[in-house]
Amino acid sequence: MDPNGTLFFPEQGSTIASEVDLLFHFVLYLSIFFFILVTGGSFYFAWRFRKKGEDQFTPNISHNTSLEIFWTVIPTILVFIIFIWGFKTYLKMNVTPANSMEVNVTAQKWFWTFGYKEGATTTNELVVPVNKSVKLLMSSQDVIHSFFVPAFRVKMDVLPNRYTSLWFEATKTGEFDLFCTEYCGKGHSEMIGKVKVLSDAEFASWLASSSGPSDLPPAEYGKELYKSKACFTCHSIDGTPSVGPTFKGVFGRTEELTDGSSITVDENYIRHSILEPQSQVVKGFQPVMPTYQGVLNSQQIDALIAFLKTVK
């Protein structure tokens, strides 16, 4: 388990986490008290009033109105407190502070894309500054997904037909797990990423360097994108067929398409397949690739093409 966490919770990484944990522990200790009362009581009675010797009649205790009112009313008051408390914390979770930094989140089978106003986009890695409230504006390209960061105690479904949002304020730097928690098919359990919380200065420099053009040589940059944009989950570079065709020797290869025609893979076909992946699918594969329109800019597409030329 997490060295900074407790038995029940991972470490507290956001402003709301300690409030959620406090309520949980209140309910937990209350539950333990009543649990011992009821099951401890039943085991005690079971032993104390166990059958001894010959049969005998038992007393006629049919009911006791005041006792019954007592154990109906007391729990009712307690759960009412829990309800109010739970709702108040929930309101805090739902009222986004006005000065929040906004990040667009796109979920699709089976990866996350994060888009920043400044132009940077990342895949499966949400980079945020510490001690600043961040608002996520989320939508899905296909089925329902759900955004969950255990250390922040936040979760919200990501729907295909509307925006949903959530906010958090990270309280410490570091890396935190990010999960999809709404079942979305084959790759559901691979749809995980990281939230990287940086100090203000680190974040500013990261944002500047990620938003502008990259200064790596194109083929190397493309290789990096191949990993960071999760191309590798469906396309191998060692020749093994996966969800999609392998990239090994792809450039210049002649492929038969699902409509029976054939095509030679050139720069235009690759570009076309990245932006409109469903239109010219290689025979024997399903049209399941999502579009990268808006996810990759033209410099990045160029870099990927340069990289594919080197995979032989």
């Binding site: 997490d2 309910v27 009033f49 038992t58 154990w71 829990i82 739970g86 729907l159 949903t164």
Partner: protein, 551 residues
């Protein structure tokens, strides 16, 4: 006694035809019992395979696709084909007319029809299993379910058809309880099991049609492209969730209420004590049935529904918890100053109190919205509903099965093995599922084929628990099957209970009672009556043969 000694519902006609066309509620109950036990075995095998796959991260036994189909089949089979019919249709069918002193249910033909409808539904489910099983989870959430290529339609049709079987049983029970009670059995002289079955039947009739309509809409969308839930066609996927949980939350109480009925019988019988607060227990069953219709939105706190809706659903959720808590206190008070013995059914009942308490308390945690946000769709929820469904309903079902087993078959099972079995199930269950509370609160999402390394030790421990649990059930299968053939002959009233089903022979004759039973006592009058060697003994010392208790 019977006109011909030794003739009972089991041996009066042994031909296959006499079983397949029987209108006897006891035989139909037994046929249901075979059906649900087969499904429990099937669903259980899937569960063991799932836990085996999760022993270590990464693909071990199966592919992600197969895994997704397995947990869907496990859920759908256990819910629709096992838990929902297990207590009402199998045990309830057998004991309900006996407990109210009736010859049969009100509509025997409808009763038989419900069993055949159940078989048809099971057929669709098995067809789906063989023809590329659905991989949607038992919840069939859109738009995933309308876009996946697996056989979702046959699985939803199975659930649709099984719904009718459930409705038939519900209609039958309500009519039977209203019209066929023995003379003298007023509403407040009914055993609490009957109150529970009555409340269950109300939910079955009112909620199940909504599931049926929802599933038909889903099939229409998938088969004919009519846009209802899919946003690509102008639909709304959250609408499906509302419809689905409008049925499926009350359905939780279709599953658990009859279990509570069984526990009321077991606690009273094995404590030999008048049930404490009879009316409060009876009313709380009805209260649960009514409030259960108004809490479905607590499954959807993270779905994007409005904050106001979330608040209302959270509020009402706590109020459905209260009547369940009240029952726990009443059972506890029933044990006070009793004369408690520890035969296997009582051990099941004590297990129930322990496990259902944990299920209930974690339910309170999940009802608090801000906690639910963290726990939703993690293993915490998985653990919670297994404590309620398995620790509650399934444990109560097996308690009831052991309790009425001598009445159903006229034979006893091996008591020592039965005790070993219940203890193993109890230990294995807690190993398997308590672990999952911690997994879930640590952030492990449910329905994951693969997982991060930090969760491995707890996953492994949970899988070890599933083997202990499985062993408990294997031992049970052994001694129960053994008892069918070699079991000691059961007396009419092995537990000394006062409800009517124990006043007739074991197993009962075709018409249940040879005379209409007359009630001169309440079902829990252990302060006035006791049973020794099948004979009722009154407090004033008179010993009477049970046939003469009529007057």
């Amino acid at each position: 006694m019977s006109v011909a000694q030794g003739v009972n519902y089991l041996n009066e006609d042994k031909s296959l035809k006499s079983w397949l066309f029987t209108l006897d509620h006891k035989r139909i109950g037994v046929m249901y019992l075979f059906g649900v036990m087969t499904m429990f075995l099937l669903g259980g095998i899937f569960a063991i395979l799932i836990r085996l796959e999760l022993l270590a991260p990464g693909p071990d036994l199966m592919t992600a696709d197969t895994y997704n189909q397995m947990f869907t089949l496990h859920g759908a089979i256990m819910i629709f084909l096992f838990i929902i019919p297990a207590i009402p249709a199998a045990l309830g069918n057998f004991v309900l007319p006996l407990m109210i002193g009736a010859k049969d249910v009100a509509f025997p033909r409808l009763n038989l029809a419900s069993w055949y409808v159940y078989l048809l539904g099971a057929g669709f489910a098995l067809f789906s299993m063989l023809a590329g099983a659905a991989d949607t989870g038992w919840t069939f959430y859109t738009p995933y379910s309308t876009t996946t290529s697996t056989s979702v339609i046959s699985m939803t049709m199975a659930a649709f058809i099984l719904g009718f079987s459930s409705i038939f049983t519900g209609v039958n029970f309500i009519a039977t309880i209203h019209k066929l009670r023995a003379p003298g059995m007023t509403w407040f002289k009914m055993p609490l099991m009957i109150w529970a079955l009555y409340a269950t039947a109300v939910i079955q009739i009112l909620a199940t049609p909504v599931l049926g309509i929802t599933l038909v809409l889903l099939v229409l969308e998938k088969a004919f492209g009519i846009g209802i839930f899919d946003p690509a066609m102008g639909g709304d996927p959250v609408l499906f969730q509302h419809f689905f949980w409008f049925y499926s939350h009350p359905a939780v109480y279709i599953m658990v209420l009859p279990g509570m009925g069984i526990i009321s019988e077991l606690i009273a019988t094995f404590s030999k004590k008048k049930i404490f607060g009879y009316k409060l227990i009876a009313y709380s069953s009805v209260a649960i049935a009514l409030i259960s219709f108004l809490v479905w939105g607590h499954h959807m706190f993270t779905s994007g529904q409005s904050e106001l809706a979330a608040m209302v659903f959270s509020f009402l959720t706590f109020f459905v918890g209260i009547p369940s808590g009240v029952k726990m206190f009443n059972w506890l008070a029933t044990m006070y100053k009793g004369r408690i013995s520890f035969e296997a059914p009582m051990l099941w009942a004590l297990s129930f109190m322990f496990l259902f308490a944990i299920g209930g308390f974690t339910g309170i945690m999940l009802g608090a919205i801000s906690l639910d946000i963290h726990f939703h769709d993690t293993y915490f929820v998985v653990a919670h509903f297994h404590y309620v469904m398995m620790g509650g309903t399934v444990v109560a079902f097996f308690g009831g099965l052991h309790y009425w087993w001598p009445k159903i078959w006229g034979r006893m099972y091996n008591e020592t093995l039965a005790k070993i079995s219940v203890i193993l199930v109890f230990i294995g269950f807690n190993m398997t599922f308590f672990t999952q509370f911690i997994l879930g609160s640590q952030g492990m999402p449910r329905r994951y084929f693969n997982y991060l390394d930090q969760y491995q030790p707890l996953h492994a421990f949970s899988s070890y628990g599933s083997w202990v649990l499985g062993l408990g059930f294997i031992i049970m299968a052994f001694y129960l099957i053994h008892s069918l053939f070699r079991g000691k002959k059961a007396p009419d009233n092995p537990w000394g209970a006062l409800t009517l089903e124990w006043q007739t022979s074991s197993p009962p004759s075709h018409h249940n009672f040879d005379e209409i039973p007359d009630l001169d006592h309440d079902p829990y009058d252990y302060d006035k009556l006791m049973v020794v060697d099948d004979k009722l003994i009154r407090k004033n010392g008179q010993s009477e043969k049970k046939e003469t208790t009529v007057n």
